[in-house]
């Protein structure tokens, strides 16, 4: 019997606000532990939450970008459970009346158009961060994250392979990034994903028992975790042990490369949801929605279309550039400064991406300025340096942030294009290699290549290869 995989995702994104959802503390990532806290986000007795209007606006924006229905009347509920990362022993979230319902994300996978339906988007507060020390009998708590606004996006069980889940998530991430709803930094936890996965015989309508996998924090891990869980379930079904699949939550252990049971449905908390009496229902007006719609910038699908038409790039090139908001922005800036669209794309897609990957830097953290890359490209186009020298300048420029012209000067990388100077070098090389001239004359044309090499060597690599080649060939013909 063959089985079909069913995957649904729950994605938490931290919303791009300056302050927390219910108080005025900063949401800045990486601050000193417990410095962005106050009695309200610490849940001190007598304190009360007051909703940050910007959170509502961003959630509505996300809803509009993802084609959701905006629930003009929605409310906050309390999700009650005990855990040291929760300051009030309840999380203020949304239960039966979320801010957005429905919606969809469209994307392509291996040239096939797909659409994943969304169930809902709701807003809630992030709990604190627990830090478990390896060899100590206690844990530490950083409450800076407590009260950072989150949007939880819940999909329908619409995906059928790990690849599809990853492609969906990549598309969702780029949409939210473009719309500036969230910075979606998976490395900083501002985009986190839980996955529900089940298998069923092809043709069966009803869904089988699903397993929830938590703690998967990169595209690569999601792919691996889902593959692994898919395999585990598939094996159990194949060998008639399908009944052993329990509805449970499993944690992805990236180190061990497998999922580990966390808790089963029977141990699950009864969250005792009820409307938070400290907050009034949220009312979103039509004019508010209209105003928010005008703040939605150009999104990836439109940008792809425009890049294809405007810059004559290939589909693949546009795909990679647009998938990364910061990179596409960088690209356009270089082109706007006068960089040739094709050459600029080549530099970004090869060298920039290579260095980012080597150094494990996010494109949004890149310090390289568009002006610098533009200058470098011009130096090459104008023949002032060779492409080889260009690569060296690029690496240095990326590392130090120095001006490319200064690097060329400091390293003596400028290219010799002047025919007078080059002619002298060529003459010297020819004079020193009479045998090669003989070889050439006798029909061994590859001798020209050798002589070219000698010219480059003598010029310390600075000879403009085009002009040098012309000179060598012209001189040889004279003999």
């Amino acid at each position: 019997m063959s089985y079909e995989t069913i995957i649904g995702l729950e994605i938490h994104v931290e919303l791009n606000t300056k302050t927390k959802i219910f108080c005025n503390c900063s949401t800045k990532f990486g601050s000193k532990p417990n410095s962005n806290t106050c009695p309200v986000c610490l849940g001190f007795p007598g304190t009360l939450p007051v909703i940050n209007e910007e959170v509502v606006n961003l959630a509505v924006k996300a809803g509009k970008v993802l084609g959701c229905r905006i629930n003009k009347l929605n409310k906050m509920d309390r999700k009650n459970y005990f855990y040291p990362d929760l300051t009030k022993a309840y999380q203020i979230s949304q239960f039966d009346l979320p801010i957005c319902s429905g919606g969809h994300v469209d994307f392509e996978l291996d040239g096939v158009k797909k659409s994943v339906q969304l169930n809902r988007i709701h807003i809630e507060e992030d709990p604190a961060k627990l830090i478990h020390l390896e060899d100590e009998p206690f844990s530490l708590i950083d409450y800076n994250r407590a009260g950072v606004p989150l949007a939880e996006i819940v999909t329908e069980p619409d995906m059928h392979s790990p690849e599809e889940a990853v492609a969906f998530l990549k598309t969702l991430k780029s949409l939210l990034e473009y719309a500036e709803v969230s910075d979606c930094r998976m490395d900083q936890g501002s985009l986190r994903c839980d996955a529900n996965i089940s298998l069923r015989p092809v043709g069966q309508e009803a869904l089988n028992t699903r397993v929830e996998i938590k703690n998967i924090n990169s595209f690569k891990e999601i792919q691996k975790a889902l593959e692994k869980e898919q395999k585990r379930q598939s094996e159990l079904y194949t060998y008639g042990e399908g009944h052993k699949i329990k509805q449970e939550t499993r944690r992805w252990d990236s180190g061990k490369g497998r999922t580990i049971p966390m808790r089963s449905k029977e141990d699950a908390d009864d969250y005792r949801y009820f409307p938070d009496p400290d907050l009034v229902p949220i009312v979103v007006s039509d004019s508010q929605i209209e105003r928010i719609e005008t703040t939605i910038p150009e999104l990836p699908p439109q940008k792809k279309k425009r890049f294809l038409e405007q810059f004559k790039l290939t589909e693949k090139e546009v795909e990679i550039l647009v998938a990364d908001k910061a990179l596409s922005h960088f690209y356009e800036e270089v082109v706007d400064l006068g960089g040739d669209p094709k050459t600029t794309a080549n530099w970004i897609l090869s060298d920039v991406l290579r260095v980012l990957k080597e150094k494990e830097i996010e494109s949004s953290d890149m310090t390289l300025k568009p002006e610098m890359l533009c200058k470098l490209i011009k130096l090459i186009v104008e023949g002032k340096i060779s492409i080889t020298a260009g690569k060296e300048v690029f690496n240095e420029m990326f590392e130090t942030g120095k001006d490319p012209e200064d690097i060329v000067k400091d390293k003596g990388l400028s290219q010799i294009s002047s025919s007078d100077v080059l002619e002298k070098i060529v003459d010297e090389v020819l004079a020193a290699n009479p045998k090669s001239i003989e070889d050439y004359k006798s029909g061994k044309l590859q001798a020209a290549g050798f002589l070219m090499g000698q010219v480059m060597k003598k010029s310390k690599g600075q000879a403009n290869p085009g002009i040098a080649k012309e000179l060598v060939e012209a001189k040889l013909k004279e003999f």
Binding site: F44, P45, K88, F274, P277, D278
Partner: protein, 486 residues
């Protein structure tokens, strides 16, 4: 005049006119407290040093002729569930025994802005759960009229200090009658404002949708004056009311009830009502008619369901509100534990008293997924109907009159082992919180044994002025003594 007999109004005027200084008043009051409080046992924390310091600042302002606040130099006692910056706020619970908030409740901020002098924090039922103040982890506060009896609750300390003359005025909180019932038991005036008129920021939550801070005083005028200071919208409390309503409460105290239509629901006179209270109410009704009000029997049948709705909603909210006391961040923490779960469990087991645990369990049960509809949801539906019935009644009447409590102050220990009987003490007050309307308890006489009797005047939403006007007129007519210990 002796300090114990002085009203806030008289103190304020005397200070303004230079008859005495705030420092003199505060020092006299602390002497009186040292003499009387050991008998009444109402204060959990005294702030003598700070109070004298604040009084001196006010006196300095008087001397320099600077503008004075609305409560300049007047001492006030605060229920121990209202947060005071730098001063212990315990909720009369072991779990917050040493809790010192780093912030002031909005009402405290406002009082300080108006130059009031905070003299101490007073006893209550733990987390405001109870009707006798016997559920305090620290003190057994006595009824100043009869030290064998309870002062009522949960704001028993706030009522007792006023009746004992060891604070001219005080603040309490009222979730289901916690201001009005002790006011009735102690023979003083106590007002629960419309839900949303007074900010809840800094009031340690019991049941968020019902809690409201309000004033206690020996006179209606003092309550009006204090309400004027603490009322108003607060950006820190989303449930505080945004629309404008006048807070010049003193302006309506003209002594007249002429033409007022007062409804008296027969459901508030049912079985269980003490005969002496009933008789007292009847004579008040007669008096009101003499004074020119129209007093008429009416019916509000749904209010008989109020008690069960109240105990489900208040306990449900409390179960969630009190979950934060887990020993992790502040307050009491159990000593021996093996895991974080055990730490939280032991802390709560050791830190909370019996009644609080009972309500947490009741509320947790009512919110469980299988029971939510049968309990919490049904209670909410009932609450809506109660609210509607009040609104309908206020289409016909300006005010509603009832006894505050069905019983006279009972003996200490008399009901503490019988929670159901204790809960029945709230039968006339809980509906008001469910409807969110304002109500005052006014002393209207004494039983033959000399125990105070209180009446309740209920108004429509934002009808504080109407209530105060009628209460003031009755007060002038009835002339009931409000000072228990001379």
């Amino acid at each position: 005049m002796e300090i114990q007999a002085m009203t806030a109004f008289e103190i304020k005027k005397g200070i303004e006119e230079g008859k005495f200084t705030s420092e003199e008043i505060v020092k006299m009051l602390f002497e009186r407290i040292k003499e009387v409080d050991p008998k009444v046992e109402a204060y959990i924390t005294l702030c003598e040093e700070e109070a004298i310091k604040s009084a001196k600042i006010v006196d300095e302002k008087v001397k320099k002729g600077e503008k004075l606040g609305k409560f300049a130099g007047v001492p006030i006692a605060i229920k121990d569930n209202i947060c005071t910056d730098g001063v212990k706020t315990t909720c009369a619970s072991k779990i917050l025994e040493d809790f010192i908030p780093p912030y002031d409740a909005t009402v405290i901020k406002k009082l300080k802005e108006e130059d009031a002098i905070i003299i101490g924090k007073v006893n209550m039922d733990e987390f405001a759960m109870g009707s006798s103040t016997e559920n305090s982890a620290f003190l057994k506060t006595k009824n100043p009229w009869d030290l064998q009896r309870v002062p009522g609750g949960s704001s028993g300390g706030s009522a007792a200090v006023v009746a004992a003359g060891i604070a001219p005025v005080s603040l309490g909180s009222d979730t289901g009658g916690s201001i009005r019932q002790p006011a009735a038991f102690c023979g003083v005036v106590g007002l629960k404002p419309t839900y949303g008129v007074v900010s809840r920021f800094g009031l340690v939550a019991f049941a968020s949708s019902l809690d409201q801070i309000g004033p206690f005083g020996k006179t209606v005028e003092d309550c009006a004056m204090l309400l004027e200071v603490i009322a108003g919208e607060d950006k820190m409390d989303s449930t505080s009311v945004k629309e404008k309503y006048d807070t010049d409460y003193l302006s309506v105290l003209d002594g007249s009830v002429k033409g007022l239509k007062i409804g008296v629901p027969k459901e508030f006179f049912g079985k269980g009502l003490n005969e002496e209270i009933k008789a007292s109410m009847e004579s008040v009704m007669e008096k009101l008619r003499e004074m020119g009000a129209e007093v008429e029997e009416t019916s509000m049948p749904i209010t008989e369901e109020g008690l069960s709705s109240y105990y489900i909603i208040s306990s449900a909210e409390a179960s969630s509100n009190l979950d934060r006391y887990d020993g992790i961040r502040y307050g009491y923490r159990a000593k021996d534990y093996e895991s974080v779960d055990e730490l939280m469990e032991k802390t709560r087991t050791e830190g909370f008293g019996k009644e609080v645990k009972r309500r947490i369990m009741l509320g947790t049960y009512a919110l469980c997924s299988g029971y939510y509809d049968a309990y919490y949801n049904r209670a909410q539906k009932l609450r809506k109907e109660i609210k509607r019935e009040f609104e309908e009644t206020f289409e016909k009447y300006d005010l509603i009159l009832s006894p505050t409590s069905p019983v006279l102050p009972f003996l200490s220990g008399e009901k503490s082992e019988n929670p159901m009987e204790m809960y029945l003490a709230d039968i006339y007050t809980v509906n008001i919180n469910l409807a969110g309307v304002p109500a005052i308890s006014l002393p209207c006489g004494f039983s033959k044994d000399g125990l105070p009797i209180g009446l309740q005047i209920i108004g429509p939403h934002f009808g504080e002025k109407k209530i105060l006007k009628a209460a003031y007129a009755l007060e002038q007519e009835l002339k009931v003594d409000t000072l228990a210990i001379k």
